[in-house]
Amino acid sequence: MSESDQELDARGLNCPLPILRAKKTLNGMTAGQTLKIIATDPGSVKDFQAFATQTGNELMDSSEANGEFHFLLKKGG
């Protein structure tokens, strides 16, 4: 996973908190910056895809390792 401008630890949080926290963090970032999110909610895999599609933020990477889900979002313009 590549370097990111910011990181968000959403481990242990359940729907819809990972998405809400991600949105809040993105609000404080500028277009083009990247946000790495670590979550444990399996539902977040589909949810971050849907979030990206609907908000114009790009989901650059989505992966799983040891029961944790990693996402890399690039803030849209």
Partner: protein
């Protein structure tokens, strides 16, 4: 991106049914929707400053009755408690509610007040039903400050121009 909007009518005032309206509203707001929530009848409980919501397993065969503590084999047991017993044991609902709250916390699910705050932070518009307030003799100071009070016509005005309208 074009601005979309959603309205939800929240009609239920129990801990379990408080979740869908607040989860959908906070998520929709995060996705860029303009959200309006209209709280009517028992749903008005969700706007109280002092949130004291309960859940009742009585007459609700869909609700799993599992313990939020102990070894995993114990947590896995679904306690099939007869309605007659649930109705007859004083404090049954209180116990069920505290077990539910414990489960909610264990699973990393947000509390209702947390979700409500997130909705307000995201500028979700909340409207309390005037008629219900009159009907149940609820006073404005019992409800949180950041809401307005209105009626069916106010709701219809929002719903008429909205992409998604839900009744919960």
């Amino acid at each position: 991106m074009s601005e979309k909007s959603m309205t939800i009518i929240a009609t239920k005032g129990t801990l379990d049914w408080a979740y869908p309206p607040f989860i959908l509203s906070s998520t929709a707001a995060a996705l860029g929707y303009n959200v309006t929530m209209f709280f009517t009848f028992y749903g008005l409980q969700l706007l109280k400053k002092d949130l004291n919501l309960s859940v009742s397993p009585l007459g609700n065969p869909g609700m799993p009755m599992k313990m939020p503590f102990g070894p995993s084999w114990f947590k896995g047991i679904n306690w099939n408690i007869p309605n007659l017993l649930q109705a007859g044991v004083p404090g049954f609902e209180t116990v069920a509610t505290s077990l539910m709250k414990k489960t909610i916390k264990n699973k990393g699910v947000a509390s209702i007040s947390e979700l409500r705050d997130l909705c307000l932070e995201a500028d979700v518009e909340m409207i309390g039903c005037q008629m219900t307030m009159d009907l149940f003799d609820m006073k404005r100071p019992e409800l949180i400050d950041d809401i307005s009070v209105g009626g069916a016509a106010t709701y219809m005005e929002r719903a008429g121009e909205s992409d998604i309208n839900l009744f919960i």
